[in-house]
């Protein structure tokens, strides 16, 4: 009885040991991936902040104002050339 049981148990033990090794490996692998993703997230956040800043810099009113006036020769419309549309009146 005991003699016969020892081999399946041994096999089971071996299997468990291998599974443990495997799961440890998986854990490490996933953890590395998590780390990498975290790093990428941080880098992306920084990049986003940079792009936001760049957008703000490029869309700066001072810049638009200067470009519209100098390169495009634009000017704000005088009130005499403005037509106001009022809701509800024909």
């Amino acid at each position: 009885m005991n003699q016969r049981l020892i081999f399946p148990v041994l096999a089971l033990l071996l299997l468990c040991a291998l599974l443990l090794v495997n799961s440890q490996y998986q854990a490490r692998r996933l953890f590395m991936e998590l780390e990498r993703t975290n790093m990428r997230q941080q880098a992306n956040e920084i990049e986003w902040a940079q792009l936001q800043l760049e957008q703000s810099n490029l869309a700066k009113h001072a810049r638009i104002d200067a470009m519209a006036k100098s390169t495009l020769a634009m000017q704000p419309p005088p009130a005499s050339r403005t037509q106001y549309l009022t809701l509800g009146t024909p």
Partner: protein, 586 residues
């Protein structure tokens, strides 16, 4: 193996192993016992060693082990962004590097150092001097772009390191410098909104323990000691477009009238939000090197001035509220009014009697004093206090002042008279702008906010609706062609406002320096904005509020009303400018 195969072993020949003659040597029994004993001793030693390692010195060993592969890492947290009401970034933090050196450890060839100096953008001599210092740690350059820092590290000079720091960027630059303030190298707010909101903007750095492998990669989390918390983003009530508009207009006005300083505040009447707040002179918050600290003062908050005639509406509104006068009441206005040793006069001739509307329109001191004399001193005190004069604004701006207002019980009659037209009292521009809320909001006051609000705050009634509306109509006369501020007119909109010009007080004496101001609201039919303009010490021939501050008001108001999509309430031909506008009384 079959028996047929002859075997050469003794056993094969039928002799039992134990009976083998080879073993028949007689050895003393103690020898085997001795071997056995030594074997046990050896096992015992192993067991003892194992016990020693596992049980006794385990702490020490674990610590030693940990110190070789476990590390406590800082988890950085970033400072919150500041955005305007439309989500445009006004301030953001980006990681940069600081270049540091331990001068004793630096070993580099001359070529290497020369290249290093070029990368740093400093002279070779300067670099050499810094590296020759006795200190064992010097910053060579701070706030360095990460890419440049990497190139410097690639030079591989021993003793040169970089460390992480943050650089705060302000895209709006000088236009919002005073409003936003700035941060120091440690990313701690030092002025303006950055200072006030430091607690919520600042992030809390977290830390965690990890296990690293030989190549420095993190392979396992041991524990999170402290979760990092990023700073909260802040959405301001400021509208970047209006802020910039106000900035350019103020700059023009200050240049044109050769003034020492100036400021503009734009308020949203419906919500109490501050839409713009600008100051001149200003500075670039992105590069503050060599900026005179006095330039960094937020004059809207920290500087008080005698408001002059911009105070008159409050005195007269109180009299209207009490039913002592109506806009059409005729008041005797002699050219001069003598009170004891003092004489109060107007700077321009006027009729010997005027209606209350004309007193406001032409800004008559004599008329205002006559009305003030109908009031008790505490009546005036009440309305000034309700307007917020003499009280510290609750924004937390560093250096914000309460202004000066004497308690009414100590007012002498002459003081009550001068205070009624804004002399002998001092206010800040933000107080003055907010005070006009009572006229714009039909007699209600609301608190101001620098943060975008979801719903308007609770209002408090300080004046009857009738008096506020009457006052607004009277102030509309100020910008008419017969008033003191025709230049404040805006095409298509009805404007109401009041000019102010006051002598400055220096060392307790009035000096021949002026502060010209204009506070106005628009449109009169249903006010949406209040704009206050202050021009400090205009030195040209023009120095009256109606001359120096009103044009800036007009331009800012026109742009702001358009940006806010406010429907015009007047025909576009409403602007009528007189040949020679009336100058106001001082």
């Amino acid at each position: 193996m079959t028996r047929s195969t002859p075997s050469r072993t003794a056993a094969g020949r039928g002799v039992a192993f134990s009976a083998s003659p080879v073993l028949a040597v007689k050895l003393p029994a103690w020898r085997s016992r001795l071997v056995l004993f030594f074997l046990f001793i050896a096992f015992g030693a192993l067991a003892a060693r194992a016990f020693w390692l596992q049980a006794i010195s385990t702490d020490f060993l674990q610590k030693q082990g940990e110190s070789r592969y476990a590390r406590t890492l800082e988890v950085p947290a970033t400072r919150g962004k500041i955005m305007d009401r439309n989500g445009e970034v006004m301030a953001t933090s980006l990681p940069v590097r600081a270049i540091e050196a331990s001068p004793d450890d630096v070993q580099a060839s001359k070529e290497q150092l020369q290249e290093f100096a070029t990368l740093l953008g400093i002279g070779y001599g300067d670099l050499k001097k810094k590296l020759d210092s006795d200190r064992n740690f010097v910053y060579l350059k701070r706030q360095v772009d990460p890419e440049l820092a990497k190139r410097i590290l690639d030079l591989n000079i021993p003793g040169i390191r970089t460390s992480k720091e943050y650089k705060r960027s302000y895209p709006a630059g000088p236009a919002a410098a005073h409003l936003l303030g700035f941060t120091d190298y440690q990313d701690v707010g030092k002025e303006g909104i950055e200072y006030i909101q430091q607690k919520s903007l600042a992030g809390v750095t977290g830390s965690r323990r990890v296990i690293r492998d030989r190549q420095g990669r993190v392979v396992e989390d041991v524990e999170h000691l402290r979760e990092p918390r990023d700073g909260k983003d802040l959405t301001l009530s400021i509208d970047n477009k209006i802020q910039y508009l106000a900035y350019t207009q103020l700059q023009q006005a200050v240049d044109k009238f050769n003034a020492k300083a100036g400021a503009i505040v734009v308020l949203d009447v419906k919500t109490g939000e501050v839409l713009a707040m600008v100051n001149m002179p200003t500075f670039n918050p992105n590069n503050r090197q060599g900026v005179d600290p006095s330039v960094m003062r937020n004059r809207v908050m920290t500087d008080t001035f005698e408001p002059g005639s911009t105070m008159k509406p409050f005195t007269i509104a109180r009299a209207l509220d009490k039913g002592l006068i109506t806009p059409d009441t005729v008041i005797d206005t002699p050219p001069k009014l003598t009170m004891g040793p003092a004489t109060i006069g107007d700077s321009h001739p006027h009729a010997s009697s005027m209606t209350v509307t004309n007193i406001i329109g032409q800004s008559s001191n004599v008329g205002t004093v006559k009305i003030a004399q109908k009031l008790e001193s505490h009546d005036m005190w009440d309305i000034f206090t309700a307007a917020g004069f003499g009280q510290q604004p609750r924004f937390g701006f560093p250096g914000a002042v309460a202004g000066r207002m004497k308690p009414y019980k100590s007012w002498r009659p002459i003081e009550q008279a001068t205070i009624s037209y804004g002399q002998g009292i001092s206010v800040s521009l933000i107080q003055l702008a907010r005070a006009y809320m009572m006229f714009a909001r039909n007699g209600e006051m609301i608190p101001l906010s620098f943060q975008k609000l979801d719903r308007p705050p609770v209002a408090q009634r300080v004046l009857s609706e009738r008096a506020a509306r009457q006052m607004r109509l009277m102030m509309e006369k100020v910008v008419s062609s017969e008033g003191t501020a025709p230049f404040a007119q805006v095409r298509g909109y009805r404007i109401a406002g009041k000019t102010g010009t006051a002598y400055k007080v220096e060392g307790g004496q009035y000096v021949k320096k002026y502060v010209g101001s204009f506070v106005g609201l628009a449109p009169v039919s249903d006010p949406r904005i209040i704009i206050a303009v202050m021009i400090d010490e205009p030195t040209g021939p023009q120095h009256f509020g109606g001359q120096v501050a009103a044009p800036a008001f007009s331009n800012v108001a026109a742009g702001t009303l358009r940006l806010l999509n406010v429907a015009p309430d007047a025909p576009i031909t409403n602007v009528i400018l007189p040949a020679a506008p009336l100058t106001e009384t001082m």
